[in-house]
C-alpha cells in the first residue's frame, strides 16, 4: 500500500520537477480542440508504439502513443472516436485515461447498427500543425475484441546483459491499467562480495499463488510459493547436472518438470547478434513438491534436452532436444564453440503417468533439425489444438538470434509453419498463451534489435493472429528510454500478493534439499 503511495508521489513529483516540455504538454492537454480546418495527408502517422490496425482485448489498458519524432515541435491533436464516444488529446503524446478508454471500448463492443451488432473499431485521427497548416494524417483503426486477456503479466526486468548483473527485478503489471509492482528484487539479498541472480519465474496455469523462481549465488535456491506457503529448495543433487533451470508446472498436480543445464556464453566479434548462449550439457528432471523428490526424465549424453512444457491435460511432456556428437579430438567445449551452429533442436514428447510418476518413451513430433532449423520453447494452447514454437537457424537461446520467429502448427498433424502475422525481421522468442487461449504474449526485439519488449496478439479458433501490439505504458516513450529488457513474459490470473521482503526472508533461510530418486 505504502509502496503504491510512494509510487504515486514519485509520479506526482516527477511531473512537478521534470521537464518543462511535459508541463507544456499537460497545458496543451487541458482543452485540446480538433482543428476546424485541415488538409488530409496520405500517409499514416508515424507513431510509437505502432498501434495502427491492431486488435486489443476488451480489458486492456488504454493505448498511449506518441507521434514521432518525439522531439519535433509541431502542435498535435489526436482524436479517438467510436460511435457517439470521443476522446481528444493534445500534445505529441496521446494518453487517454483509463476511464475514457473504457467508455470508448464499451461503445466499440456495443456494436454497429446492424442486426448482428458487429463490434465497431475505434478510429484514431492524428492532426498535426505543420508549417503550411493543420494536416490530418491518414486515420487508422483499433479493433476491440470481446475476448478478455488475463489481467496480469509478470516479467523479469533485466539489462540485456552479458556477464555482469546488478539489479534485477521480477515485476508484475496489471494489463487493465498501468499499475506495475515488484514481485522480488534481487538487491534485497545482494551484497558487494556476492550478488544474487534471479530467473525463471513460472506459475501453475497462471495461478499467482503457485509460483516459483530461482535465485543463484548468494542465498541461492529455488523459491516455491504453493498456496501461500513459501519454501526454498535445493534441486541440485549428486545425480543431476545442475539445479532445476527452465521450469514447467504440471497443469494440475504438484509436479514441476525442469531442464538441468550447463550453460556457457560467448560473444560474436562482428555478428550483430552479439551473444551466443549455449548448453554444453542438458537433461530433464521432474520435481515432486509434496515428496521433495527429484526423478530423472531424460539424461542421454548425446542429447541436449531442454525447455519442458506440459500438454494442457498433463498427460504429455513436450520438450526440445538436440543431438550432438563429438567429431574431433579437441576439447568437447572447444568443439561446441566451433560447431555451435550445428546444435539444432527438434521437438519431442513423452507420455506421463501421474499415478506412477513415470514417463513413456520419447517420440519426435517436429523434426526441425532435418530442415536445418532449431525449434525451441514449445507451448501448447489451452484447448490443446495449437503448438507454438520459436524457430531459428541453430541453438536454443533464440532471444539473441535475429532470425528467430514464432511458428505455429496443429498438434494433430504437427505441420508447423512460420506465423507470418506476428513475426518481424527481429527476434521473436519467449511466448505463452493466455488462459482462454485467445491471446498470446511474446518477446520481440522489433523496436531496436536489442531491447526485448512484450507484444500481444489475438488468436482465433483457426489459429489466425492479428497484428501484434506492444505492451501499453503510461508514458508512451517509456520503452524508448528504458535500458532494460522484458524477460519471460508470463500471464497471471491475478497479482502475486507476497511482498518482496517476504521472499527475501524466505531466501535467506536454509534450503530444503531435494532427494534424488532413481526410477
Amino acid at each position: 500500500m505504502i509502496s503504491k503511495i510512494t509510487e504515486r508521489c514519485v509520479t506526482a513529483l516527477s511531473s512537478v520537477i521534470c521537464p518543462l516540455a511535459l508541463g507544456l504538454v499537460l497545458v496543451g492537454c487541458s482543452s485540446p480542440q480538433v482543428p476546424a480546418s485541415y488538409k488530409d495527408g496520405k500517409a499514416l502517422p508515424d507513431i510509437y508504439p505502432d498501434y495502427v490496425g491492431v486488435t486489443v482485448p476488451v480489458n486492456m489498458a488504454p493505448l498511449h502513443f506518441q507521434l514521432m519524432p518525439v522531439n519535433a515541435q509541431t502542435e498535435v491533436v489526436t482524436r479517438f472516436h467510436c460511435g457517439e464516444e470521443e476522446i481528444v488529446c493534445g500534445g505529441r503524446q496521446a494518453m487517454p485515461s483509463v476511464s475514457d478508454w473504457q467508455r470508448l471500448v464499451a461503445a466499440a463492443l456495443k456494436g454497429d447498427a446492424s442486426q448482428t451488432k458487429k463490434p465497431m473499431p475505434i478510429t484514431v485521427e492524428v492532426f498535426e500543425n505543420k508549417t503550411d497548416g493543420w494536416v490530418r494524417h491518414k486515420p487508422f483503426q483499433v479493433s476491440v475484441s470481446p475476448d478478455s486477456i488475463d489481467s496480469w503479466l509478470s516479467y523479469r526486468l533485466i539489462s540485456p546483459s552479458y556477464v555482469a548483473f546488478e539489479e534485477l527485478t521480477i515485476n508484475q503489471r496489471c494489463l487493465e491499467n498501468f499499475d506495475e509492482r515488484v514481485i522480488y528484487n534481487n538487491m534485497l539479498c545482494s551484497e558487494e562480495a556476492e550478488g544474487q541472480c534471479i530467473n525463471c519465474h513460472s506459475y501453475q496455469k497462471g495461478n499467482p499463488n503457485r509460483m516459483q523462481f530461482h535465485a543463484r549465488l548468494n542465498h541461492g535456491g529455488t523459491l516455491i510459493n504453493y498456496d501461500g506457503k513459501l519454501r526454498k529448495v535445493n534441486l541440485k543433487t549428486d545425480s543431476t547436472l545442475s539445479a532445476g533451470v527452465y521450469p514447467a508446472w504440471h497443469p494440475t498436480l504438484p509436479f514441476i518438470a525442469y531442464s538441468t543445464n550447463i550453460t556457457r556464453q560467448m560473444f560474436h566479434t562482428l555478428d550483430v547478434n552479439k551473444v551466443e548462449v549455449f548448453d554444453t550439457q542438458s537433461d530433464l528432471i521432474l520435481y515432486d513438491l509434496e515428496r521433495n523428490e527429484v526423478i530423472n526424465v531424460e539424461n542421454s549424453p548425446l542429447e541436449f534436452e531442454v525447455f519442458p512444457t506440459w500438454s494442457p491435460d498433463g498427460r504429455w511432456l513436450y520438450y526440445c532436444s538436440a543431438h550432438f556428437e563429438q567429431q574431433d579430438t579437441v576439447k568437447f567445449e572447444a568443439e561446441l564453440i566451433r560447431r555451435y551452429q550445428d546444435l539444432k533442436y527438434s521437438i519431442y514428447r513423452k507420455p506421463f503417468d501421474p499415478e506412477k510418476r513415470t514417463f513413456g518413451p520419447s517420440e519426435m513430433v517436429f523434426d526441425a533439425a532435418s530442415q536445418g532449423l532449431s525449434a525451441t520453447l514449445p507451448r501448447i494452447s489451452p484447448d490443446g489444438r495449437w503448438l507454438m514454437l520459436s524457430v531459428g537457424s541453430w541453438g536454443c537461446f533464440h532471444i539473441w538470434h535475429r532470425d528467430a520467429d514464432l511458428w505455429i502448427g496443429d498438434v494433430a498433424t504437427m505441420e508447423m509453419h512460420p506465423w507470418k502475422e506476428v513475426n518481424s525481421t527481429h527476434t521473436e522468442a519467449y511466448h505463452t498463451w493466455s488462459s482462454n487461449g485467445r491471446w498470446i504474449v511474446f518477446s520481440s526485439r522489433r523496436d531496436d534489435g536489442n531491447f526485448t519488449r512484450p507484444f500481444f496478439a489475438h488468436v482465433d479458433k483457426d489459429g489466425h493472429a492479428t497484428k501484434p501490439f506492444e505492451l501499453p505504458t503510461d508514458n508512451p516513450d517509456r520503452h524508448r528510454q528504458l535500458l532494460k529488457s522484458y524477460n519471460i513474459p508470463e500471464f497471471m490470473l491475478g497479482p502475486v500478493t507476497i511482498s518482496p521482503q517476504s521472499f527475501a526472508d524466505a531466501l535467506k533461510g536454509e534450503p530444503s534439499q531435494a532427494t534424488f530418486v532413481s526410477k
Binding site: 511531473s15 548483473f165 534485497l188 560467448m266 566479434t269
Partner: protein, 612 residues
C-alpha cells in the same frame, strides 16, 4: 568586535573557497569533465522515478543533476564552492560557532574536497549516482534540520520531539543516512545546550533512537524493495568495497564531517567564550588555527595526484576528439606509463599513419594503476580501444556491463551510439541519440550523429567512424576476452583477412605486438599485397629482418631491406654478444640509447609487462 566576529570567519571561509576554486580549475579540469562523463542525468520522469527507488534517492538525483555542471570545469568548481560555502554557513548557524573556532568551518570544505579528489581510479568503480555532490548536499540538508532543531531549543520539549520524528521520516527517504545523522546531532545538542530536565532529555533521546532504528526498518519493509536490510542505515553513503575487501580510507571525509559536527556541538557557546580571559581566548584562537592548518594538511595529503591517472583522462578526451597529436604529445611526457597510456599511444600512431615509423620511438611501459582495488583496462579506456579498432560488439558489450554494474553513464551512451551506427542498427542508434538529447551537455553532440542514422555512406566519410569501417574484420568469430583485453584484441585483430590497406596495417601492427612469428608472416604478406607501391616502413622491415633470421621458414634474402635496418640488427647482435652475463635490466640501460627505438630492443628486452 562585531566586525572581528564577522570578518574573521568570513575572510577565512572565502579565502579557503577561492583557493579551492583556483586549485580545482587549475589542476582538475580534465578530471571534473571526466567525472561528468561517468555520470548521467536525464530530464525525464523515468530517470527520477528510477532514482527514488532507494532511500537517499533524491540525494542521488540532485547530485547527478549538479554533476552536469562539471562538464564546464569552472562551472563545476563554482558549484562545489557554492555548496561548500552554503555548508559552512549552515554549519555556523546550526552550531553558532564562536569566531575563534572559525577554522572548524574549513572541515566541511576539506571533507568535500577530499571526497571528490581523493578517489583517483576509484571514480570508475563508484556505484552511487551523483556521488560527487553527495556529501555536500546530504550534509547541508541534515544540518538545516539541526539548525531548525536548535531554533526550537528553549521551547516546549515535545516540539523538538515532533521535529525529530518529522525530520527522520522525511529526510531518510530523501537523503538517507544524513537524516539519521542529523538526529544524532540533535540528540547531542539537546544534552549539550537544552535547559530541559533530564527526564525530558532522556525522552528525546529515546525518540531519536526509535526514529533512527524504526524509520529505516519501516521503509525497508513497506516502502523500498531495493536495499538489503544490512545496508538500510547507510543509504546515501557510497560503498568502497570490492569483493570481500573494504577500503576504509575513502570514508575519511565522512568521518571528518561527522567529527567536525560533533566537535562543534561540544565546543563552548559564544557567550561563554566572551567571558574567558584574554589568554584563554588566544589559546582558543591558536587551537583553531592549528585545527585549520591540520585540515589543510590532511586535505592536501589525500588529494590524488597520480600523473598516469590524470594523463589517461586527458588522453581519453583527446581520443574522443580524434586529436591524435594531442594523444601522442601526452604519451611523450609519461615517464613510467601504464598499459592504458601505451595502448592509447599505439592507437594514435596507427590512426595518424605514423606507426610504421614511430612505433617504438616512445618507451613501452607496464606501470599498474595506482589504485588499491582491482581494475581492468576495459573499465578505463578499453571501450574506446575496442571501438577505434572496429570491435564495436565488444565495445558495446563492455558499455552494457559497465552500465549494469556501475549505473549508466554518458560515456557508455556515447560509445553505444557509435557502436550502433557502425553495426547499422539504426533504431538502436536513434534510441541513444534521443536519450542523449535529454542531457544538458551532450544533446548537441548527439545531434551531430543524427544525419548518420540510416546512411552508411555518410558513416564511411565520417571523421571518426569512417576510419573504423576500414578496420572491421570480414567475418565473425565467437570469443571472450575474460576481461583482459590487450592480448585478446591483438589476437583477434591479427587474425583478420582483409584487402583494405588500412585494415591490413592494423593486422600487421597487431601481429608485431603479439610477437608471434607465424602470425606476423601472414600479416606481413597481406600488408605487402595491399601496399604494392609503397616503401615498407622501417619497423616492419626490422621485424621481417629479425624473424627471417630467427627462423628460416621465410626466405628474406631477396627482400629490399634498408641498409640501416641491417646495420642496426648486426650492431644489436654484436652488442648482445658483448653484454653476455648481464641481467636484462643492465642490458636495457646499455641498449636503450642506441637501439631503444628498434623492434630488436622491444623483442628481446621489453618483456613481462603486466596487463590488466
Amino acid at each position: 568586535m562585531f566586525m572581528k566576529k564577522l570578518l574573521y570567519p568570513l575572510l577565512l571561509c572565502v579565502a579557503a573557497l577561492v583557493a579551492a576554486y583556483v586549485v580545482m580549475v587549475s589542476y582538475e579540469s580534465y578530471y571534473m569533465a571526466h567525472v561528468e562523463k561517468l555520470s548521467l542525468f536525464l530530464y525525464t520522469s523515468l530517470f527520477l522515478s528510477q532514482k527514488l527507488v532507494v532511500a537517499g534517492g533524491m540525494l542521488s538525483y540532485v547530485g547527478a543533476w549538479l554533476t552536469q555542471f562539471l562538464y564546464v570545469p569552472w562551472q563545476g568548481a563554482l558549484a562545489v564552492c557554492v555548496l561548500c560555502g552554503l555548508l559552512m554557513l549552515v554549519m555556523q548557524q546550526a552550531f553558532r560557532l564562536s569566531y575563534l573556532w572559525a577554522p572548524l568551518l574549513l572541515a566541511p570544505l576539506a571533507a568535500v574536497l577530499m571526497s571528490d579528489f581523493m578517489l583517483g581510479y576509484w571514480v570508475y568503480l563508484i556505484k552511487m549516482p551523483g556521488y560527487f555532490f553527495g556529501l555536500s548536499v546530504g550534509s547541508i540538508t541534515g544540518l538545516l534540520a539541526v539548525w531548525a532543531f536548535r531554533l526550537l531549543i528553549g521551547r516546549h520539549w515535545w516540539l523538538r520531539a515532533v521535529w525529530m520524528v518529522l525530520a527522520g521520516a522525511v529526510l531518510y527517504p530523501l537523503v538517507g543516512c544524513y537524516g539519521l545523522v542529523a538526529l544524532v546531532l540533535m540528540t547531542a545538542m539537546e544534552w549539550r545546550l537544552s535547559a530541559a530536565s533530564i527526564a525530558q532529555k532522556a525522552m528525546l533521546t529515546t525518540v531519536a533512537v526509535v526514529v533512527v532504528l524504526a524509520v529505516p526498518l519501516v521503509c525497508y519493509r513497506y516502502v523500498y524493495d531495493q536495499t538489503p536490510i544490512e545496508s538500510i542505515w547507510w543509504c546515501g553513503i557510497p560503498l568502497f568495497a570490492q569483493g570481500d575487501q573494504t577500503f576504509g580510507e575513502y570514508y575519511l571525509p565522512y568521518y571528518l564531517m561527522l567529527g567536525a559536527c560533533l566537535l562543534a556541538v561540544f565546543l563552548p557557546v559564544p557567550r561563554k567564550e566572551q567571558k574567558k580571559g584574554k589568554a584563554l581566548q588566544w589559546a582558543t584562537a591558536a587551537a583553531g588555527i592549528v585545527l585549520g592548518a591540520a585540515l589543510v594538511y590532511v586535505c592536501n595529503e589525500h588529494w590524488y595526484r597520480d600523473e598516469n591517472f590524470h594523463k589517461e583522462i586527458q588522453m581519453e578526451a583527446a581520443v574522443e576528439e580524434c586529436d591524435w597529436d594531442e594523444v601522442l604529445g601526452l604519451a611523450a611526457t609519461a615517464s613510467n606509463p601504464t598499459r592504458q597510456i601505451v595502448l592509447y599511444k599505439y592507437l594514435a600512431l596507427f590512426k595518424s599513419g605514423r606507426i610504421g615509423k614511430e612505433m617504438y620511438d616512445l618507451p613501452d611501459g607496464g606501470a599498474l594503476p595506482d589504485c588499491p582495488a582491482v581494475l581492468h583496462l576495459v573499465q578505463l579506456g578499453g571501450q574506446h580501444l575496442y571501438l577505434q579498432y572496429g570491435m564495436q560488439n565488444f565495445c558495446y558489450r563492455w558499455c552494457v556491463e559497465d552500465g549494469v554494474e556501475f549505473g549508466w553513464r554518458v560515456k557508455n551512451l556515447r560509445l553505444m551510439l557509435r557502436c550502433a551506427l557502425l553495426n547499422h542498427e539504426w533504431n538502436l542508434a536513434q534510441k541513444f541519440i534521443d536519450m542523449l538529447r535529454q542531457t544538458r551537455n551532450h544533446a548537441q553532440w548527439a545531434e551531430e550523429y543524427q544525419p548518420l542514422v540510416g546512411h552508411p555512406e555518410l558513416i564511411a566519410k565520417h571523421k571518426e567512424l569512417g576510419p573504423i569501417t576500414h578496420v572491421k574484420g570480414s567475418y565473425s568469430v565467437l570469443a571472450s576476452d575474460q576481461s583482459l583485453i590487450e592480448k585478446f584484441m591483438l589476437t583477434v585483430l591479427s587474425s583478420h583477412t582483409t584487402d583494405d590497406p588500412i585494415g591490413a596495417e592494423l593486422v600487421l601492427v597487431s601481429a608485431i605486438q603479439l610477437k608471434d612469428i607465424q602470425v606476423f608472416w601472414r600479416a606481413f604478406n597481406q600488408y605487402a599485397i595491399t601496399h604494392p607501391d609503397e616503401l615498407m616502413p622501417r619497423v616492419y622491415q626490422e621485424v621481417a629482418y629479425l624473424y627471417g633470421h630467427l627462423e628460416n621458414g621465410v626466405d628474406i634474402s631477396r627482400m629490399p631491406f634498408e641498409q640501416s635496418v641491417k646495420d642496426d640488427y648486426e650492431g644489436f647482435m654484436a652488442l648482445g654478444e658483448k653484454c653476455k652475463g648481464m641481467t636484462e635490466a643492465q642490458m636495457r640501460s646499455v641498449f636503450y640509447p642506441k637501439y631503444g627505438r628498434t623492434f630488436y630492443y622491444n623483442y628481446f628486452l621489453v618483456r613481462g609487462l603486466r596487463t590488466y
